[in-house]
Amino acid sequence: MSTDSGENPTAWLQAMQKSQSDWMRQWTQWAAPFMPPLAPGGGATAGSTAGGAGAATPMGAGGAAAGLTQQVLSQVEQSLGVSRAMWDLLGRSAALADTGQRLASFNDGVQQLQAQLGRFFAPLAAPAAPGVASAAAGAGAMMPGMPQFGPQMFNPLAFGLPFAGLPGVGPAREQQEAMERLASLAQRVMQAQAQLATQWGQLLQNALRDLGGALTPKLQSGTLPGSLREVYDQWVATAEKIHAGAAGGSVFAQAQSELANALSQLRIAQRDWLEEWGRAFDLPTRAELNSLHQQVRALKEAVQKLGDKV
C-alpha cells in the first residue's frame, strides 16, 4: 500500500532494471532447451498446433485470448523447466534396454543438468566489473561547486568511482564524498547479489541432485512417475526441503540480510543525495518533514495530557 515507492527513472535504476532483465534473459536461455519448440510463425506451440487446444479455449480462437494463453503457457513452461528436463531425461533413460545403462545415462544426465545450472549461476555469482560511464554528458553545471545536472548524477558508478581513493577537496568536496559513498554502496549491493546468487545456485543444484536420487529407485524398479505433473510436484517438494535447510543456515541468512542491508544503506544515501538537490532549490525534504511530524506528535501528547487533567 505504499505511496512512497515511486523513484525517478534514473540511469541508476535503469541499470538495475537491465541487471534484472539480464537475469531473466539468461534464465530464459537456460530454460529454452526444455521448452516445446515453437511452430513456424511463432506463438503457437507444436502441441497446440497438433491438438488444436488453443482454438478450443472458451475464449475463442486467435487474437488476444490466444496470445494470453500462450503467455501463460510460456510462464508455466518456465516454471516447469527443471521438472521437464528431468521428465525428458527419465524418458530417454527408460528407453534403454540394459538396467546398468539406464542408471548410468540417468546419472550422467542429472550431473549435466547440475552443471548447466552451475553455468547459469556463474555469471550472476561473479559481481560485474563496475562500468565507468561518461560523466561528461550532463546538461552543464547548475551553479559553481555543484555536480552537473543530468541522469549521470544518479549513477554513482559513473560519477563516484573516478574519484575513489582521492581525498575530497575544493568547494565540491561534500558532493564528491557523497558520490564516492554511493559508488561504494552500489558495489556492496552487487557483491551481496553475487553472494546470494551463489547460495541459490548451490541450493538448486543440491535440489536437482536430491530429485535425481529420489527418482533413481523408480527408474530401477520401472515404476516411473506417470506424468510430468508428478515429477514437478516432487521437484517442488525436494526444492522446498533443500531451501528450508539452506535458508535457515547462517550462510544463506547472512547473504540475504547483507543484500537487504546494503540496499537500505544505498537507498538512504540516494535520498541524502537527492535532498542536497532539494535544499538547493528550497524544496521540502524528508528530514524537514520528519522534524514537523515529531513536533505534531509532541503537540498531540501535550494536548492529550492536558485533556486528561481537565
Partner: protein
C-alpha cells in the same frame, strides 16, 4: 514416458489454461470485502476504527470479546464470507464481538510506536467497551502479532482483561524452525526503517512468500489449473489472493521495536521488554489463557506458541492444537466447525 504422452500433457495443459483464464475473467468482480457480517463503527481514532458486530443470536451474559488483529494483514480473514467467518460463527453462538481495524498507516505514522499501539490505541478501545457495556473487563482475542500485543496489554493492564485467547501467536521468536525470525536476526532494522520511514507491505509480502518460494511463487498458481471449470474455487482463490497481498505498510517506529525487541532479542521470553517505559512481565498475567495454534503453521510454528504455557502466572492454561496452517486457521472447513464452538465453550465456562 513417451513423447506422445508429453504432447498430450501439453495439449491438456493448454486447454486448462484457457478454461482457467476464462474463469478468472468471470471472477474479476470478486472482492475480498472488509467483512460479510453487519457491524457498526463505535470508536475512531486516527486511522483506527473499532467495530461492534450486530447480534445474530441472543447475546449471552459474557464479557464482550475484543479481537486484536495483527498489523501486517487486514482482518478480512476473520469474516471473509458467510461460510468462512469465525466472527459470524461466534455471533451465532451469542458472543458480543468487537474488532480493532488498524487501517492503513501512511507517511504521517512513521513515528507511531508500540507504546501508541498497546498503551494507547488498544487501551482506549478497551476503555471504550468497558464504559459502553458497563462491564469491568473484556475478553481479549489476539490474533498472530495481535496476540503478542494482547499478551503485552494483559501484562500491563490486567485489571481490564477477564480472559485471554491467543491465536497463532508468536511468543518465543528464537525456536529453530522459525525461518522468518532467523532471517530478521541479521537484518539492520535501523537502516531499513531509516530507508523507508514506513515499511512497505510489499516488502513484508516478499519475505513471506520467500519462506516457501517454490510452493508460493510457482506451484500454487500451477495448481490453480486444477480448479479449471470450478468457478467457486476460482473465486475463493481470487478472494484469498486479494487478502494475502493486501498488506498495510508498517509504521516505522513500531516495526523497528517489534523487529528488534521480539524477533532479534526475544525479550518476551528472555525478559527486559518494556513498552512505553513500563516493563512487560508475562508472570503478571493471572487470567485464564486459551492458546490456539496450527500444527502446520510455517509462519508461526507451534514451537513459537507453546512456550507461553510456562511463561505466565496463569493457573488456568489451555492449549488447542488444530491440524491447519496459518491461513487455514481462519478459513479451513475444520476450523469453521471446531474453533468457534471451542472458543465459546471455553469462555462460557469462565
Amino acid at each position: 514416458v513417451s513423447g506422445a504422452g508429453a504432447w498430450r500433457d501439453l495439449a491438456d495443459l493448454q486447454q486448462r489454461i484457457g478454461v482457467t483464464i476464462a474463469g478468472l475473467r468471470a471472477a474479476a468482480h470478486t472482492q475480498a470485502r472488509e467483512g460479510c457480517s453487519e457491524r457498526d463503527a463505535v470508536h475512531r481514532e486516527d486511522k483506527l476504527v473499532l467495530y461492534r458486530y450486530r447480534e445474530r443470536a441472543p447475546r449471552l451474559d459474557l464479557p464482550p470479546l475484543l479481537i486484536v488483529y495483527a498489523l501486517v494483514n487486514r482482518p478480512t480473514m476473520m469474516d471473509l464470507q458467510p461460510d468462512r467467518s469465525l466472527i459470524r460463527r461466534l455471533l451465532e453462538l451469542g458472543l458480543d464481538v468487537y474488532l480493532i481495524d488498524w487501517g492503513y498507516p501512511d507517511g504521517a505514522d512513521r513515528f507511531v510506536d508500540l507504546n501508541d499501539y498497546i498503551n494507547g490505541y488498544i487501551d482506549r478501545c478497551v476503555r471504550h467497551i468497558v464504559q459502553a457495556r458497563a462491564v469491568p473487563a473484556v475478553n481479549l482475542l489476539g490474533v498472530c502479532q495481535g496476540g503478542t500485543f494482547s499478551l503485552c496489554y494483559t501484562a500491563l493492564h490486567p485489571e481490564h482483561v477477564r480472559n485471554l485467547v491467543t491465536m497463532v501467536t508468536p511468543v518465543d521468536f528464537h525456536t529453530p524452525d522459525n525461518l522468518l525470525s532467523r532471517w530478521v536476526r541479521d537484518l539492520d532494522v535501523d537502516a531499513l526503517v531509516e530507508a523507508y520511514g514506513v515499511v512497505p507491505g510489499e516488502l513484508l509480502n516478499a519475505a513471506y512468500v520467500s519462506l516457501m518460494p517454490f510452493r508460493l511463487l510457482q506451484q500454487k498458481y500451477l495448481h490453480l489449473l486444477d480448479a479449471a471449470g470450478d468457478q467457486a474455487a476460482l473465486e475463493n482463490f481470487v478472494r484469498m489472493e486479494q487478502w494475502i497481498f493486501d498488506s498495510p505498510d508498517q509504521a516505522g517506529e513500531a516495526f523497528r521495536q517489534f523487529a528488534r525487541d521480539f524477533f532479534q532479542e526475544n525479550r518476551l521470553v528472555r525478559g527486559g521488554l518494556a513498552i512505553g517505559g513500563l516493563p512487560v512481565e508475562l508472570r503478571r498475567i493471572r487470567q485464564p489463557i486459551l492458546n490456539v495454534f496450527g500444527t502446520s503453521d510455517h509462519l508461526v510454528p507451534p514451537s513459537a506458541s507453546r512456550p507461553l504455557a510456562k511463561l505466565t502466572g496463569c493457573r488456568d492454561y489451555t492449549e488447542l492444537e488444530l491440524d491447519v496452517g496459518h491461513i487455514g486457521m481462519y478459513v479451513s472447513g475444520r476450523t469453521q466447525r471446531e474453533l468457534p464452538r471451542a472458543l465459546h465453550d471455553w469462555l462460557a465456562q469462565r
